[in-house]
């Protein structure tokens, strides 16, 4: 017999050691998994309380804002003095900005579980475009649509997806102060896991994003548009929605060379 007892013992000992190591790893993994679950639960409870609180706060803030707005509009029809008109316009902008902040905060803090249904993404994209059409016309922005004819229906929440696209289109418009082109592409592909995906890209010819900003654009409250009313919640809300659809989002951009936002959504 070619195998010595010594060898068998050694192998046995080795297996016992490995098994013991595996047991340790399993226990550690279980602990980590339980900790993660606890953290998720805490986050979910925090977000849920924050959502309830935000909804109340949003309404309580919007009511006085509506009174201020009515006051401003009454002064507008009562005064035609040039300086006063300008001041009232600025005040009105500030009211709309405050209203937008409460709305974004509310959206961000809500744990919105998507209602998934078979969805025609091309239709959602076109409907979203029609809602921002007036902004594009005003800023002389051309829209180029390259939506593949054979896009499959994707299980998605059409309202949430509309919110995603409106956000991306509005961001693109804000990046192109001198006008430009927004190209929306949608086609089918595979991701690195060989999963079938629909890839949607929203590319603009605007000012682009620096490397530093690119690292942080999805962080809540991070904004490069604070002066013009940005709340820094738009893209974090977008990312949250895409991730709840088991998708991914990334940004390719260079200053002066425009921005391309790429969304990948699985389908089967």
């Amino acid at each position: 017999m070619g195998i010595h007892m010594n060898d068998i013992d050694k192998t046995k000992e080795q297996l016992i050691n490995e098994l013991s190591e595996l047991r340790k790893q399993y226990v550690e993994l279980k602990k980590a998994s339980a900790a993660l679950e606890r953290a998720r639960l805490i986050q979910s409870q925090t977000m849920s309380s924050l959502g309830v609180l935000s909804a109340g706060v949003a309404h309580e803030i919007k009511n006085p804002l509506s009174i201020i707005l009515q006051g401003i509009e009454l002064m507008e029809v009562s005064s035609s003095k040039e300086g006063v008109v300008d001041i009232l316009a600025m005040m009105k902008d500030a009211v709309f900005r405050a209203s937008r902040i409460t709305k974004d905060l509310l959206t961000f803090s809500r744990e919105n579980t998507p209602t998934l249904k078979e969805t025609d993404l091309a239709q959602v994209i076109n409907e979203s475009l029609s809602l921002v059409d007036h902004i594009f016309s005003l800023k002389q922005i051309n829209i180029v649509g390259k939506l593949s004819d054979d896009l499959p229906r994707v299980r998605a929440d059409s309202n949430q997806m509309k919110q995603v696209f409106i956000n991306l289109f509005t961001n693109a418009a804000e990046a192109m102060r001198e006008g430009g082109t927004v190209t929306v592409t949608a086609d089918i592909s595979e991701n690195f896991n060989k999963e079938k995906i629909v890839r949607i890209a929203v590319a603009d010819s605007g000012c682009g994003i620096s490397e530093e900003d690119k690292q942080r654009v999805f962080d809540p409250f991070y904004t490069t548009k604070r002066k013009s009313g940005g709340t820094g919640l738009g893209l974090s809300v977008v990312k949250g929605i895409i991730e709840k659809h088991r998708g991914s989002i990334r940004i390719e951009s260079e200053p002066g060379k425009g921005t391309n936002v790429i969304i990948e959504l699985p389908y089967s």
Partner: protein, 134 residues
Amino acid sequence: MDSSELKKKILVVDDENSFCVLLKANLEKRGPFEVLTTSNPHDVVRLAKEFQPDLILLDILMPGMDGMTVAAELKGNNYTEDIPIAFLTALADEEDVREFRSRTGDKYILSKLGTNKELMVSITEIITAKSRGE
């Protein structure tokens, strides 16, 4: 013909008295409207019976009685059941309302955070639809 006969009558119901006062002033200054306001939701049916408005603008969240309950009371009364009601709310902003409208075609939800210009367009639209029997 008395000019007041051409004016459309609006009853505004909102628990924020300042909002009522300012909205009344704005609407009466900007368009052919006669506006009556109340901050007490319990008074709405009585006022609607007496004033017979062309439209009631009703807040949704009010202490004491919410807008939905007030609307149900109005619809359950022979003297007020045919008066159109639009909900004027701070819960939705103008963008939400536009999107809701484009999706559902419903013109009876209006935002308190829209401009009076937009509000008057919606009011006229609702009153016109009512006069056409829609």
